[in-house]
């Protein structure tokens, strides 16, 4: 485990991670891996590098590949740079039935970027996601920690305006 690696995690992130580590028995540090990945992802402007994942592995005494497995399994972890705001558009069944297709079209038009891409000014990334458990408010999107529900083109314009 190289110390140099661990240094990639800044002091504030370490404090955060340690809080999570403290919640689990001492010999099960690895239980904090998801939280740790989220914390270093935030520290790095919304995406993970291999070096950061390695840093988490050594911080939590895990095999690197184990961290890669977790980080590639969950769609909330990004492996490429993302824009300032990541717009997660649900296109799963309920949202689809309620018109997520139009939401996608509208976003792509408005932002001039295809699903999965990032706008040139690096402000927005569009990402297609599976059901976020908010079917009653379908169609919906998630930006940061907020859910925006019962959407239509107008509402989307307003949301984007606010985030400008």
């Amino acid at each position: 485990m190289s110390e140099i690696n661990k240094d990639l995690i800044n002091a504030a992130s370490r404090v955060d991670i340690d809080q999570w580590v403290a919640k689990y028995p001492a010999d099960q540090k690895q239980s904090a891996v998801m939280a740790a990945l989220r914390i270093v992802q935030d520290q790095n402007g919304g995406w993970l590098t291999t070096e950061l994942m390695d840093a988490v592995a050594s911080y939590l005494d895990m095999d690197k590949i184990h961290v890669y497995e977790v980080a590639t399994f969950y769609s909330m972890y990004e492996h490429k740079p993302v824009g300032k705001h990541k717009i997660c558009v649900c296109t799963n069944i309920s949202c689809m039935v309620c018109g997520s297709g139009e939401i996608v079209d509208h976003l792509e038009d408005k932002l001039d970027v295809k699903m999965g891409g990032t706008t040139e000014d690096n402000r927005f990334t569009l990402k297609e996601v599976e059901c976020l458990g908010a079917c009653s408010g379908a169609p919906m999107i998630q930006i940061g920690e907020h859910y925006y529900e019962n959407l239509d083109a107008e509402k989307i314009d307003k949301i984007l305006e606010e985030l400008k």
């Binding site: 095999d63 690197k64 590949i65 590639t72």
Partner: protein, 795 residues
């Protein structure tokens, strides 16, 4: 015990057993991909679904515990329907490229799809394709074929103790791989090829050289370490194409080391010797067997003083060859016979046990609760022993090391005492002192005085307490300590520590057949005289034979510059000799330079014979591959030599005759395949108190994993692995600073007048003031003794 019913048949099963185990035992086949007897259960492939009465859905047999009165059907329409749908799912993304797949013909997927698959696919969407990864020189990947059983991943985690492969991504996008570009470096890695139920992981070395149905299966024994792992050496037209493991629960479970799997490549090396050769007036000519043997025998007859003949034999040849070799030499009146190529301290040899062994079976090691290994890189020297120790450790055993290098372990090490070779005796004194303090028996003569001045730490106390508190524990002498200059003194202390802590004293020995060498009398100091009885003889040991520059030498299966502790000393002795016979499977310039006649003998797989492993198990095997050219099995060559020397009793018809003669000399029945494990404990004989306070830099030599024998050294794929990159001198950063050397700097290593060019590698696992320069590699061949002082001079 519970009784269950499977397909109408009453089956007895143990409480807690899984259905699939009970069915396997009763011989009822249930299809499976992810389940493997020696791995944890993941129940992820669902191929083993069966019908269980009263259960609301089909149950996976690998993860359903038996219960008394359970009624199971593995073949009902209901069970079959479940199995068939699983099969259909598994085939969705599979490329169905069986005609170009190495696994074709032995593929579980292929086999089950014949039983359970449909001849039509309902799937019309795009199949996914996975990019192949380069995971090193040994294993080829074709990951589009992967069915995600995760056997390879579990193997890494549970057996190899290195989680190198993983399943990244999710659902449709899940992939097996290393995520980053990386080679798989475990010394047991090749087992994932045997484990992979499809052709996703195959052997890079054997790839596209056979179709499975062309291969003949040959039960064989691995000949590259003292474990004697069971393997199946598969041949096509008499040539080994592939080696796979063969289950033996008392030795190697389902695994073999990469060395045992891939060494066969060395058999096809260009420098195989195919005809006898004679040197006449400085020029080499090919000769007939008759001429060459007659020449060798006559030249040896010309040496009137037979104590001027020295015989040195590899510890990795068959017991039959060893027995006959010593019989010939003793027959002509020479006791200078040895197989201990790297030992340098022979002072304790008259106390050697019948054979230095484990004192238990290989599998028993996994049941130990504590062990201390002295001078051993067990994981790389005997990978299967490393596996057994790791299994013990996973069950909570406390395993400690006393070593000159902090070798990488793949389990939790309880205590690690990393000290210079010159200080190891002192370290053992400390441990002996603790053992003495804890012991209720009186101190053996001289011990109290010997250990009076050493300081004990808590860590030493804990280490000994763990040994004494355990029901089963061992003190293991590894091959590194056996090569050290004051081995005999250290061995006595180790024996005392074992005694006082109620542990077994065990040896891990060099080569594949050190046990065989001892039992067949391939030793200068002892010979069999009657059934099971020995007498002392006064022959010279390996070191003395070369130090004293004899008139003639016989080298059996040896490459002097790679196989001996002090290659330079040995080469000089050969240069000086009147006559040297080499019996060898290979011919090199070095062998030519040092010999007068070279006789081509078969390698182990080309001859029938017997290896005796470190647990005293005699394992005989038949010839597997065709002999090269005119080469002959060693026992036949020695039989002729015995006859040409007119020695009585060389009328053997087969290698069995030879081994049976040895068995009867050892008071064993012909059918017996085990030598009872006599105790290894030594009679106390207080060692001299050596206090080595030297400022000189000492060399540490370990015979590195892929340099152990002539065949392995020629296995090209193994030589490309990470573990084979050993032509470096490793020092720690403190010494580097002191000597003003940098990583990757080229230097001249110098021992007395001998030099070698090496590169520095800075590695803080090496103890202070020492240079780790492994033995058996090219650089070491122009150097002296493995633990002599050494200088590093910037080039």
């Amino acid at each position: 015990m519970v009784t269950i019913e499977i397909n109408g048949q009453q089956v007895e099963a143990e409480q807690g057993q899984m259905l699939i185990e009970a069915a396997d035992k009763a011989g009822i086949a249930i299809p499976r991909f992810c389940y493997h007897k020696n791995l944890s259960i993941s129940a992820s492939c669902r191929m083993c679904l069966v019908e269980v009465e009263k259960a609301p859905k089909p149950m996976p047999a690998c993860a359903t515990p038996v219960a008394d009165g359970m009624v199971v059907n593995t073949k009902s329409t209901y069970a079959l329907a479940a199995q068939k749908s699983v099969m259909e799912f598994l085939l969705i993304n599979h490329p169905l490229d069986c005609p170009v797949c190495d696994q074709g013909g032995e593929c579980d997927l292929q086999e089950f799809s014949i039983g359970y698959g449909s001849d039509k696919s309902q799937y019309a969407e795009i199949k996914r394709v996975v990019k192949d990864k380069d995971i090193g020189p040994l294993i080829a990947t074709e990951l589009t074929r992967c069915i995600h059983c995760t056997r390879c991943v579990r193997f890494g985690q549970e057996i190899a103790g290195m989680r190198e492969l993983g399943a990244t991504g999710r659902g449709d996008w899940m992939e097996i791989g290393t995520y980053i570009e990386k080679s798989i470096d475990s010394e047991l890695s090749g087992n994932i090829i045997d484990l992979c139920p499809v052709g996703a992981l195959t052997s890079k070395v054997s790839r596209f050289t056979y179709r499975v149905w062309e291969l003949a299966n040959n039960d064989s024994i691995s000949a590259h370490d003292c474990i004697g792992s069971n393997c199946n050496a598969q041949t096509k037209n008499g040539e080994i194409k592939r080696v796979i493991s063969r289950q033996n629960d008392s030795i190697n479970d389902a695994w073999i080391s990469d060395r045992d799997r891939y060494s066969f490549e060395g058999l096809q090396s260009d420098d195989r010797l195919t005809k006898p050769m004679i040197k006449k007036d400085g020029a080499w000519t090919e000769a007939s067997w008759d001429d060459a043997l007659q020449f060798a025998v006559n030249s040896l007859k010309d040496i009137k003083d037979k104590s001027q003949i020295g015989t040195v034999c590899s510890p990795s040849v068959t017991t039959e060859e060893m027995y006959l070799l010593q019989k010939v030499m003793r027959g002509i009146g020479s006791n200078n016979i040895d197989h201990r190529l790297r030992q340098s301290d022979f002072r304790g040899q008259d106390q050697d046990p019948l054979f230095p062994g484990l004192g238990m079976s290989v599998a028993d090691v996994a049941a130990q609760q504590a062990a201390i290994l002295i001078g051993s890189n067990v994981r790389k020297e005997q990978p299967i022993m490393g596996h057994q120790l790791r299994q013990a450790s996973l069950k909570g055993a406390k395993i400690s090391f006393v070593n000159p290098v902090s070798f990488d372990a793949n389990f939790n090490v309880a205590h690690e005492f990393t000290i210079a070779p010159s200080q190891m005796f002192k370290e053992l004194k400390v441990l002996a002192k603790v053992a003495l303090e804890n012991s209720s028996a009186g101190a053996p003569e001289g011990l109290a005085a010997l250990v009076s001045s050493v300081k004990v730490t808590d860590e030493h106390k804990q280490c000994i307490a763990e040994l004494s508190d355990a029901d089963n524990s061992m003190v293991i002498l590894g091959t590194i300590v056996q090569a050290m200059p004051n081995y005999s003194a250290m061995r006595i202390l180790a024996s005392y520590i074992a005694d006082a802590s109620n542990s077994t004293l065990s040896y891990l020995t060099p080569g594949a057949n050190t046990s065989g060498a001892y039992l067949s009398g391939l030793l200068p100091n002892r010979t069999q005289v009657a059934q099971g009885e020995f007498a002392n003889t006064d022959g010279l040991d390996t070191q003395a034979m070369f130090a004293q520059k004899l008139k003639a030498y016989i080298l059996y299966g040896i490459e002097v510059e790679r196989d001996l502790d002090n290659p330079v000393q040995a080469s000089q002795a050969l240069d000086n000799a009147d006559f040297v016979v080499s019996l060898s499977a290979f011919v090199t310039d070095a062998i030519k330079a040092g010999s007068d006649v070279i006789l081509p003998i078969s390698t182990i797989t080309e001859s029938s014979g017997t290896l005796i492993n470190v647990a005293g198990i005699w394992q005989s095997f038949n010839a597997v591959s065709k002999a090269k050219g005119l080469s002959k099995p060693g026992w036949k060559v020695l039989r002729v030599m015995g006859n040409l020397f007119n020695i009585d009793g060389f009328d053997y018809q087969s290698s069995e005759d030879v081994i049976n003669e040895l068995k009867s000399a050892l008071a064993l029945e012909n059918s017996q395949s085990e030598t009872s494990r006599a105790t290894n404990q030594l009679v106390w004989d207080c060692p001299e108190n050596i206090s080595a306070q030297t400022t000189d830099i000492q060399r540490i030599a370990e015979l590195s994993i892929y340099n152990v024998d002539a065949v392995t050294r020629r296995a090209t794929a193994l030589q490309k692995t990470q573990d084979a990159q050993v032509d470096v001198a490793k020092i720690n950063s403190a010494l580097a600073k002191k000597l003003k050397l940098e990583d990757a700097q080229a230097v001249t290593a110098k021992q007395a007048d001998n030099t070698a060019q090496v590169t520095i590698s800075i590695d803080n696992k090496i103890t202070d003031n020492c240079v780790y320069l492994s033995a058996g590699n090219v650089a070491a061949s122009s150097l002296g003794g493995g633990f002599d002082t050494i200088e590093l001079i910037p080039a």
